[in-house]
Amino acid sequence: MLNDFNDIELVRLFKEDKNRDQVFTIIVKRYQERIYWQIRRLVVSHTDADDVMQNVFIKAWNGLDQFREDAKLFTWLYRIATNESLTFLEQSKKKSSLSFDDMSETLSDKLHSETDFDEKKAVWKLQLAIQQLPEKQRVVFNLRYYEEMPYEEMSEILETSVGALKASYHHAVKKIEEYILNH
């Protein structure tokens, strides 16, 4: 029965402290796959994606009482997921530079360790090209290319103007094209 409730109704029930666990489980199940893939494409490895995923939903649990109902729940969760992924990458970068391990655990290296990885296959070549992009362009490209998200919704998640997002996407596609032509 709770499965039929929309996001606003679920958030209201959560705030009223009624069946919190059940309500929250429904929210997680509703968006877990989309959130997971958004995180996975940014951090690449499953183990890292799982860690970030858990952090995202724990933060959502802690912040849902203050969630304003005029915003979309999905947009809000996406924003938390993007910020958590970028924070994770930033921390990894700092750790690798502190431990002097020569950035061996870069995103490209992580791609190479994927079970089905084949550099000759176009689908993996595209993944390698995406990992060469700057972080912001990578986020914009993934949301537009894989999630097919409208720029207006993306603008709410990333708090960036539509014009700037269009420019970022354009630059990202051109860089990917260049990478594929040269490799």
Binding site: H46, Q54, E114
Partner: protein
Amino acid sequence: MKDHQHILSELSSISPLVADLPRNNPFEVPEGYFQQISANILLQIQAQEIEKEELSPFLQSLKKENPYSVPPDYLQQFKVETRPKHSKVVRLFNLKAVLKYEAAAAVIGIIATFATLFFSSEKQVTIAKSTDEVAISADGYALFLNETASIEENHDEAPMEDAQSLLVQMDANTVTQILSEIPENEISNYIDLTFSEDLNLMN
């Protein structure tokens, strides 16, 4: 569907090569992961709640309600003031400043006048000195002194000579003739007048 077509045509216009790439997901996820994840997350949340309760049961029992209140419609009507409410008034005509400048101008004027007078007199003297030094030689100066001395001598002697010559030329007959031509009443008037003047002088 409409969005999908729009996004695809946008991508084709930027790069047909990237638009033609396969879109399938190459990543793998452990089996049953998505069936388990919600339960795992809930377990973590419960562990976190227990930890909080053990740390401070009192704080955990409190509801996370905001105790502060705002005036009605405050947030709806909130505007950022870009200009200060009372801007500083700047007078176009400041009497004090004008008086200050006038006093300064007067002092400068006085100093300038005195300086001009002082330096102009100094200049004249120096020019005169320099002209003497440059233009007049020693011989010329001696000649100048001789000439001036003779002029001065002539000048002192001349009136006396003239008076004496006049006296010599006028004998007694001439004087009597001149006097006879003057009417008697004019002579008496003249005597009266000179006499009264002499009296005044004596008094």
